[in-house]
């Protein structure tokens, strides 16, 4: 089974961690570069080209980081849910690596969505926080991220931790449609959808274009960070496997070998 099967899908081909490490090493410099260029261009558009909003004035500039952060907060969780599905149903070797790597990234962008939203809310609504459906559901999403990380770190057996975390992630995915449609289902202080909605975006192109450029930059940055985090996790698992194998080798060698022949792998650590 050493030869690559001709009709493998891309996820099957990437199931090999060694192949993933090689591919990601090639892709990462391009992704970092693309993210830097897009975000730099987005910031230029945001600060030097986008006009102040007729109602919100210059505070509309907070939208250029708030909205991409909010999208990535939800996108990150969707990625975890898809990865969890891949782990539980297909037992994809990289699925759990992907889910674990995405959690701290998603949690960070969710925190950023909450912080920047709060800083936008104060001058616009007169308050940093209100318990309306959109804000509360995003806060629950943040707690879900924390819960996933806490659950995983509380279980020592990694296979069990992966499965339980995946189940929680799939149960928690119900929060995503609640966040998305909260502004339609309930009366909220938060404004309704103005970019992704039926009938097209309700934002003038002079503000929409910088927003989309920043969103593209943030998304590429997220992809690059996720890939880097996956590489780190694969290396961590390899280190753990090598350390365990070395300990096992040393414990097998110890009872039978005389002290003078104990040169299995240099010094015992």
């Amino acid at each position: 089974m050493s030869a690559q099967q001709p009709n493998q899908t891309i996820t099957q081909r990437l199931a090999n961690p060694t192949r993933f490490m090689a591919l990601s090493a090639t892709l990462l410099p391009w992704l970092w570069g693309a993210a830097a260029i897009l975000i730099a261009y987005g910031l230029f558009l945001a600060f030097f080209r986008a006009p102040p909003d007729y109602q919100q004035g210059e505070t509309v500039k907070i939208m250029f980081i708030h909205v991409p952060s909010a999208w990535l907060a939800m996108g990150g969780y969707l990625l975890i849910a898809i990865s969890s599905f891949g782990l539980l149903v297909f037992r994809h070797p990289l699925a759990d690596v992907s889910a674990k790597a995405a959690a701290p990234l998603g949690a960070t962008f969710t925190a950023l969505a909450l912080i920047t939203g709060s800083l936008w809310g104060k001058p616009m609504w007169g308050t940093y926080w209100v318990w309306d459906a959109r804000l509360t559901s995003v806060l629950i999403l943040f707690f879900l991220y924390l819960g996933l990380m806490a659950l995983r770190s509380s279980i020592e057996e990694e296979t069990l931790a992966a499965k339980l975390t995946a189940i929680l992630a799939l149960v928690g995915v119900t929060i995503l449609p609640i966040i998305k449609f909260s502004v339609d289902w309930w009366n909220t202080l938060h404004q309704p959808a103005s970019v992704v909605r039926l009938g097209g975006a309700a934002i003038h192109p002079s503000i929409l274009v910088p927003l989309l450029v920043m969103a593209a930059g943030f998304t590429v940055l997220f992809v690059a960070m996720h890939m880097k985090a996956m590489r780190n996790e694969i290396m961590r698992r390899r280190i753990k496997a090598m350390t365990m194998a070395e300990i096992e080798r040393q414990s097998m060698a110890a009872p039978v070998s005389a002290p003078a022949s104990a040169s299995v792998s240099g010094k015992a650590t």
């Binding site: 600060f47 030097f48 907070i62 980081i65 390899r238 280190i239 090598m242 194998a245 096992e248």
Partner: protein, 59 residues
């Protein structure tokens, strides 16, 4: 470039984002370098990922 009466809110938002992303990137690169060094060290000592008792299936 004047950001109006709410400039502080705008600057704090951007600074918080830059700080969070910066910390995340620093952690990712620090963690990656730490693992690379540890892996290189283990490989230099001849460590393998499988214990000697386990054989690899030929297929």
């Amino acid at each position: 470039m004047s950001l109006g009466p709410h400039a502080a809110f705008i600057w704090i938002s951007y600074l918080a984002t830059a700080l969070a992303v910066g910390v995340l990137l620093a952690w990712l690169f620090w963690d990656g370098r730490r693992h690379e060094r540890r892996l290189a060290d283990l490989e230099a000592r001849g460590a393998r990922r499988r214990s000697p008792g386990k054989t690899i299936s030929p297929d």
